[in-house]
């Protein structure tokens, strides 16, 4: 069984991004980048399935510029068997990503495709569902547990107000929640070794997909920030403030 994992290169989750002075876009020049956290969960799950003997090969794929080699190296260091870079502009939108991934699925024929449930830059949460639709595959989104038996995967999904369990016929598309697992740390020797592994590069233009942006970015701005208020010294003072200043009857 082959598993394909999509890993996106995003601004590190600890970093608060800046906005360009003219408001035309965010300014990510020189900012620390890394693998999208949910995609690390996706990859970790694929690796665990391989370690359990369920999967035989794990292929990581990333779409973007040659800079994306770093997240693919990271994926190889975590344990992916192969890495594919689909070279395109950095700001592909989910529908274009899904179409490009579909062409890789057609070529690689994986039994399971795992993506992150959401990229922490665009916060779209769309690509996995789109890919599943384009392939006419079943989908298990926001997955917190996965179990494969024969030609079927059982997925527990995190939904508003609880969880839901589905059974999907393989091949299927899964999107990973953070709770799916705890991704492993990459050991330095593995990172060194991963440097020597080849990364296959495919030019997106060769895949016959229309990459035109459907959504035009008009401007970016900073949300109104909450102002820090005051410190109170006691429970009594807190309650006084709430009662007298805010009219909250507690």
């Amino acid at each position: 069984m082959k598993i394909l994992v999509a890993v996106k290169r995003v601004v590190d989750y600890n970093i608060k991004v800046r906005i360009k002075p003219d408001g035309s876009d965010v300014d990510i020049e020189g900012v620390k980048m890394g693998i999208n956290p949910f995609d690390e969960n996706a990859l970790e799950e694929a690796l665990r399935l391989k370690e359990k003997g369920v999967a035989t090969e794990v292929v990581a794929v990333s779409l973007g510029t040659s800079a994306n080699q770093d997240v693919l190296r990271h994926s190889l260091a975590m344990g992916a068997d192969r890495a594919i870079l689909i070279e395109a502009s950095a700001d592909l939108q989910p529908l274009a990503v899904a179409k490009l991934l579909k062409s890789i699925v057609t070529r690689e024929q994986p039994n399971l495709i795992i993506l992150g449930k959401q990229a922490i830059d665009d916060d779209a949460g769309q690509t996995g569902q789109m890919l599943a639709a384009l392939l006419d595959y079943p989908q298990g989104t926001f997955a917190s547990t996965l179990q494969i038996e024969g030609e079927e995967v059982t997925v527990t999904r995190e939904v508003d107000g609880g969880t839901e369990t589905l059974a999907l016929a393989l091949p299927a598309v899964i999107t990973a929640d953070l709770r799916l697992n705890e991704p492993r740390f990459v050991k330095l020797p593995n990172l060194m070794m991963a440097r020597k592994k080849p990364i296959e590069t495919i030019n997106a233009a060769e895949l016959g997909v229309n990459l035109d942006a459907r959504l035009k970015l008009i401007q970016v701005s900073e949300p109104a920030v909450r102002k820090a208020g005051i410190k109170v010294n006691s429970v009594e003072e807190l309650l006084n403030k709430l009662r007298s200043h805010e009219g909250i009857l507690v």
Partner: protein, 310 residues
């Protein structure tokens, strides 16, 4: 021009967020239709028909829609999408699952979690965990979006929409619903509670989370919330997680107890009217978004606070 709203419900009760979606849809000043997909969900159809501003309720009734799969919902909406210029739903785990699938079936881009509708095809949404507001324009003929419910007032009752029924495409064969677990609680629902008491990893255990925070929540008639760290540690159930990857709340009063205030958490609570933070670290980032901060050990002050409330 016509607008279609995909309604969320549990078979008996229409989600209150549908009322907010109706208000959002009114931006286009065009007829609004609401699709209710379910099995024997006649009560829901009636509730949808009574929302002021809804012209028609389209009812899809089929056994396989009792626990609808995203695959079936997407196929159903695609089958009736002809003639609709805007398709929208309130942002929730239901719509997040189904609408991107529809988006690919229709080959149109989708705009997730819209905070503000600026023009017929121009929207404001947040990106980078709420650190950036992004204005985007969709160039597609069909506008497909989810809206951030709490940013839109709920449409009132008093409507009397026409009800029509529609054929449901055959069930998607490659997936099946097995079971669900709904968390039971006698507290108000987190998403709409007037007061929320949230606890972090610092509570230390599921028992203490309950023992320390429940009495306070009870006295205040508040919902309980939690940080991801508290949920991951097993102190609180996952459906009460507040934040970028949990629930977004905007209560009158938000009390953060032993919460550090990571941006992924504050994303989910910073629209609260008043924020109170209790943390023993005077430099905890939560104080930067709190109206009232109390630097103290939560195990001392929460019982004291609970006792002081009538």
């Amino acid at each position: 021009m016509k607008i279609l709203i995909l309604a969320e419900h549990d078979g008996l009760q229409l989600s209150s967020s549908v009322h907010q979606a109706v208000t959002a849809a009114q931006f286009w000043n065009s007829p609004i239709h609401v699709l209710v997909a379910g099995h024997s969900a006649d009560a829901v159809v009636q509730q949808a028909a009574s929302i002021h501003g809804v012209e028609r309720v389209v009812h899809a009734n089929a056994a396989h829609l009792a626990h609808p799969l995203a695959e079936d919902i997407a196929n159903l909406v695609a089958s009736i999408s002809e003639g609709y210029d805007v398709i929208l739903a309130a942002h929730s785990s239901f719509s997040k699952n189904a609408l991107p699938r529809l988006s690919a079936l229709l080959d149109v881009a989708m705009i997730s979690d819209v905070l503000e509708i600026k023009a017929d095809n121009t929207y404001v949404r947040s990106t980078y965990a709420g650190n950036v507001l992004t204005t985007i324009q969709s160039t597609d003929a069909v506008q497909l979006l989810t809206v951030h419910g709490s940013n839109f007032t709920a449409a009132s009752l008093g409507g009397n929409a026409e009800i029509t029924s529609t054929e449901t495409p055959a069930a998607f064969k490659k997936a099946s619903w097995k079971s669900e677990v709904r968390s039971q609680s006698d507290r108000p629902p987190l998403g709409s509670a007037k007061i929320v008491v949230s606890g972090g990893r610092s509570l230390g255990s599921a028992e203490k989370f309950e023992q320390v925070l429940s009495p306070l929540a009870y006295k205040l008639g508040a919902a309980l919330g939690a940080t991801r760290a508290a949920v991951d540690a097993g102190y609180a159930p996952n459906d009460i997680q507040v934040g970028q990857t949990g629930v977004v709340v905007a209560p009158e009063l938000y009390i953060a107890v032993g919460v550090s205030g990571a941006i992924q958490h504050t994303y989910g609570m910073r629209d609260s009217k008043i924020v109170v933070a209790i943390n023993q670290d005077p430099d905890a980032p939560i104080f930067q978004v709190a109206d009232y901060g109390l630097v103290a050990d939560l195990f001392d002050v929460i019982p004291e606070l609970t006792a002081a409330i009538q």
